[in-house]
């Protein structure tokens, strides 16, 4: 059985076509771009909420999209263990929909930031990191204005091993300098307790082809390959 992934197209999503391109042309799996009102979970093995500015990020980033019918469909997938992934704006939607704990606040620079950073793998038993090793350091770009992760109870998150990725330097040290947006504990990505829902601020779809990477890497592929692997194990 072939793996089938949906990428949700909210009004204002703008990394939708980029994500579709990488899934179809780089990872070589079947992925459909689905308008948010038309999405039906039963057809898919996994779903990605892409980056962008869903509903213009009006009111608060991700909050209007969190009330889209697509989220009710995604909740069914969340509950039966299929992968639900949020990238950048998709992560914001997932925290607003309370699929994931915490919140994404305005960057401490108070500006939008677009640049390549490094992230370190903290948990490799999730639907978006199972093809990686703990401690791997990945080159990947960020592009957001509200990416500063915050949570009241950091200790619980750490104890439950829900931190999947942290911003780090090339030696794997999670320093202040390597933290682009002021995220609490350098957190770049988190997962739910079941490990099938992951939110991640950087853009793996922009880091999956060496031609796009300043260092010639293609670390972004590992994320999508992990998702495919996770689905195959379930099937």
């Amino acid at each position: 059985m072939s793996v089938k992934i949906a990428v949700i197209d909210f009004p204002g999503s703008n990394c939708d076509l980029d994500t579709i391109h990488v899934l179809n042309d780089v990872i070589n799996i079947k992925a459909d771009l689905v308008w948010h009102n038309y999405f039906k979970e039963s057809k898919y093995d996994g779903v990605i909420l892409p980056g962008g500015f869903a509903f213009g990020d009006y009111l608060r980033a991700g909050i209007i999209a969190a009330h889209s019918p697509a989220i009710d469909e995604a909740r069914v997938m969340l509950e039966d263990g299929r992968p639900v992934i949020g990238i950048c704006n998709g992560f914001q939607v997932l925290t607003e929909a309370q699929f994931l704990p915490g919140a994404l606040l305005q960057n401490d620079t108070l500006t939008f930031i677009c640049k390549w950073v490094m992230v370190k793998v903290e948990n490799n038993e999730t639907a978006f990191s199972n093809k990686m090793n703990i401690g791997d350091i990945l080159n990947i770009p960020i592009a957001h204005a509200e990416g500063r992760y915050y949570i009241e109870n950091l200790k619980e998150l750490e104890e439950n091993n829900q931190i999947v990725f942290r911003y780090s330097n090339e030696n794997g040290e999670c320093t202040k300098d390597s933290n682009p947006n002021g995220s609490l504990a350098n957190i770049a990505g988190v997962c739910n307790l079941e490990r099938n829902c992951i939110g991640f601020m950087p853009h793996p779809e922009r880091a999956s082809e060496s031609i796009l990477s300043p260092k010639g890497t293609s670390h972004g592929k590992n994320f999508f390959n992990s998702m495919v692997e996770f689905i195959k194990k379930r099937l």
């Binding site: 009004p11 500015f53 500006t111 939008f112 031609i211 796009l212």
Partner: protein, 748 residues
């Protein structure tokens, strides 16, 4: 201003008395208030080019003379055929006046407007570039405010629409203090079929006229007439003439429009920009040779009780007009419904050649469709300013500081320092096409997914040189912008320009415009670059301080790179490699950054452009590319030779050992040799084993090339062969100075 009596009312219009008479004679009656307002807008300088048209005819006919040009000047954007079935559309325009009054929304709606221009060519907008000019930042909160919010306006709008901002330029100069320049450029990519589907004409009678997008409000009424005047103290009161942008709606319009075109039922397409519905409807029908009957009350308005004058002249953002085949109406409307975009069927085209607009039962507009686009031209007087004679005789003072002190000061100066503070705020990666990132090359490079073809695009001009000699300065802008794409491995394909000048009614301001156009036209003919579009912004003049901006003919060049292996970047790469300079350095410090930063001097003789030599250098470089002999390339620009070397060292923190003893052919002073801004030079990195082959080719192409040094591990720039002895520069110190200027200057 002219007072015109209509019925019982007296109306102030910007039309001249003779224009009003022409209108009355042509219509054989008095125009209604709405009609008069439409003429007022459509015949404004901004919409009609009535001062500039006679000069713009100097450009050669691009569509006739270049077989790959699909659309030339006069259309919403220039379009070229780049092979493999793809069409590339691009355009640059100004949004200076609104940005000077309200920087955030002024800049944002500038982006919105240029995106619509590209979209209405039927292709997807894929990149933005923004040349910006402000007063000096240092100790100047007003300039900082304009700069900060213009950048934020561009970032918030561009980022949200998902179009990467891949390049631009920023210049700070006191002459832009009250009249900042915000130029915006956009590139669109689609198939040639996409482009052919949706001309900006309504040529078929019986088609439906549909308005789609945002609602029509009272914002931006007379925005274009406002842009066709000089700024005064009262201009602050014009703030309601600045439109408010909504990038989310724009994103929806982009997707809905592209999907509507894919249905095959869209026969014509036009964006609503300056002049609003008046402009769109008259151009669609006028250019298409049809007429139309429009029911104005179908238009969805933002506020109640808007009258026909307000509705027809509103410049509310985020609106598109569609001409749709009758049999496809429902299918097109269904696309709009999917995206939840407001839309209204306003009426149908007919063969009357008359544009009729009804407000209920009342016929409020009844004009020959072409009348509005038939504005008369106005011949303007030209006069070379007398102050130039004195300025051109100014000489470079003897430096009172050591060379290293001068260089550290220059590298940190506002015009030369890193613009990372700006481009970090722009999403320059969305679309997964950006191959050469901001800061790594002289131009932005985009891949065309599914091909091995790349687009290189650059914008630029040198307003300091144009101020002294607009003819040569305008040529330089073209050579410089072409040099930028060539440095990244591309062949320049076509040019569009955005002319920013002062008040054309003043002979001295108009002389600058006339000379710049003559320079651009000559240079483009000589270098075989088609001019496929342009925009003119006059009245960049401040009546309070009585200053006009420096003449700024902004140039945008797009080029094509064939093959990934042919993409070249700017940073020096490998220790032991040779550094070669292509082109001689002459004593051309007039209008240089060196003069300005060190001596606060604007005079001297600026560089001259020799197109024959430039052309040989370009051909030579293409030959070196073909033979894979170039590892890094950077064109020599502001600050001259030594600044260019520094910029190439920064990324990989390498050093160079230079010897300029044999390079100084004209017995120049040290400061002339290091800081002169002679046009069209390149610094390249090559493998020493290729030296003989390169020098042999140089001879063949009759190009001056000199080996000036070698790359070293130690991040020190060491220069021998100067008259004052040896010079040593710390690359890390230069880099830190280069990177910290703007963050340190921004107090707000």
């Amino acid at each position: 201003m002219t007072k015109v009596k209509v019925d019982e009312n007296e109306l102030n219009v910007d039309l001249t008395q003779s224009e009003v008479e022409w209108i009355q004679n042509t219509l054989e009656r008095n125009p209604s208030i709405t009609e008069l307002g439409m003429f007022d807008v459509m015949w404004s300088e901004h919409c009609s080019y009535k001062s500039s048209r006679p000069k713009l005819s100097l450009f050669e006919d691009a569509e006739k003379n270049y077989d790959y040009v699909l659309a030339g000047p006069g259309q919403d954007a220039g379009v070229i055929d780049i092979g493999d079935g793809y069409a590339l559309a691009f355009r640059i325009e100004s949004h200076n006046h609104p940005s000077a009054i309200e920087p955030y929304h002024g800049a944002a709606t500038g982006i919105g407007g240029i995106i619509r221009d590209i979209l209405c060519m039927g292709v997807r907008p894929i990149a933005l570039l923004d040349p910006l000019r402000f007063g000096p930042l240092k100790g100047n909160p007003h300039s900082q405010w304009l700069f900060k919010y213009v950048v934020k306006g561009i970032a918030d709008y561009g980022n949200c629409t998902g179009i990467p901002t891949i390049g631009g330029e920023v210049e700070f100069d006191k002459d832009f203090e009250s009249n900042c320049l915000v130029n915006v450029a956009c590139i669109g990519l689609g198939t040639i079929e996409d482009f052919k589907h949706a001309p900006s004409r309504a040529y078929n009678p019986g088609d439906y006229v549909i308005l789609m997008g945002g609602s029509t409000g009272r914002d931006g009424i007379h925005g274009v007439t406002f842009a066709s005047r000089t700024l005064t103290e009262l201009s602050e009161a014009d703030r309601p003439a600045v439109q408010i942008g909504d990038p989310f709606t724009k994103k929806m319009i982009i997707e809905a429009t592209l999907e509507a075109i894919k249905t095959g039922y869209v026969r014509g397409l036009k964006d609503l920009g300056g002049g609003g519905l008046s402009c769109a409807l008259s151009e669609l029908t006028g250019d298409g040779g049809t007429g139309a009957k429009i029911d104005m009350r179908k238009i969805f308005t933002r506020e109640p009780n808007m009258n026909s004058y307000e509705i027809m002249l509103s410049e509310s953002q985020e609106r598109m007009a569609f001409i749709v085949k009758p049999e496809g109406l429902e299918e097109v409307l269904n696309v709009f419904r999917k995206y939840e975009m407001a839309h209204a069927v306003l009426g149908r085209t007919d063969d009357s050649k008359i544009l009729r607009v009804y407000d209920g039962e009342n016929l409020v507009v009844n004009l020959p469709a072409i009348a509005l686009s038939e504005s008369p031209t106005i011949p303007r007087k030209e006069k070379r300013p007398e102050y130039l004679d004195k300025l051109l005789t100014e000489i470079t003072p003897e430096p009172s500081k050591t060379l290293d002190e001068l260089i550290y000061k220059l590298i940190a100066s506002e015009n030369i320092c890193s613009k990372e503070w700006v481009y970090r705020q722009y999403d320059h990666e969305v679309g997964v096409r950006s191959v050469v990132k901001c800061g790594d090359g002289d131009s932005g490079v985009l891949r065309i997914i599914g091909t091995d073809k790349f687009i290189a695009a650059s914008v630029g001009t040198n307003s300091k040189h144009c101020y002294l000699e607009p003819y040569e300065g305008a040529k330089e802008g073209i050579v410089e912008a072409c040099g930028n794409v060539i440095a990244n491995g591309a062949k320049p394909k076509a040019m569009v320009n955005c002319c920013n000048f002062g008040n054309p009614e003043k002979p001295e301001s108009f002389w600058y415009f006339a000379e710049a156009v003559r320079g651009m036209a000559d240079c483009c003919k000589n270098l075989r670059i088609p001019v496929v579009g342009g925009n003119v912004s006059f009245y960049n003049e401040d009546e309070v301080s009585n200053t006009a901006i420096k003449a700024t003919p902004e140039i945008m060049i797009v080029g094509i790179i064939e093959g990934e292996e042919n993409i070249i970047t700017l940073p020096f790469k490998e220790v032991g490699d040779q550094i070669l300079i292509i082109g001689e350095t002459k004593a051309e410090l007039g209008g240089s950054e060196y003069h300005s930063v060190i001596y606060d001097l604007e005079g001297g003789i600026p560089p001259k452009v020799d197109e024959n030599q430039i052309n040989s250098r370009w051909n030579f470089i293409q030959e070196l590319y073909k033979k894979k002999l170039i590892k890094a390339n950077h064109d020599v620009n502001k600050g001259g030779f030594i600044i260019t070397i520094g910029e190439m060292c920064f990324k990989n923190e390498l050093g160079v050992k230079l010897d300029l003893k044999d390079y100084n052919n004209y017995n120049l002073r040290d400061d002339e040799l290091l800081f002169s801004e002679s046009v069209g030079r390149f610094i390249i990195e090559t493998n020493p084993k290729d030296h003989n082959e390169i020098m042999k080719l140089a001879k063949e192409f009759k190009v001056y090339v000199k080996n000036v040094g070698v790359l070293s591990q130690n991040p020190i720039i060491e220069v021998k062969g100067l008259k004052s002895g040896k010079l040593e520069l710390d690359v890390i110190k230069m880099k830190n100075l280069h990177n910290s200027t703007i963050p340190n200057l921004m107090e707000i």
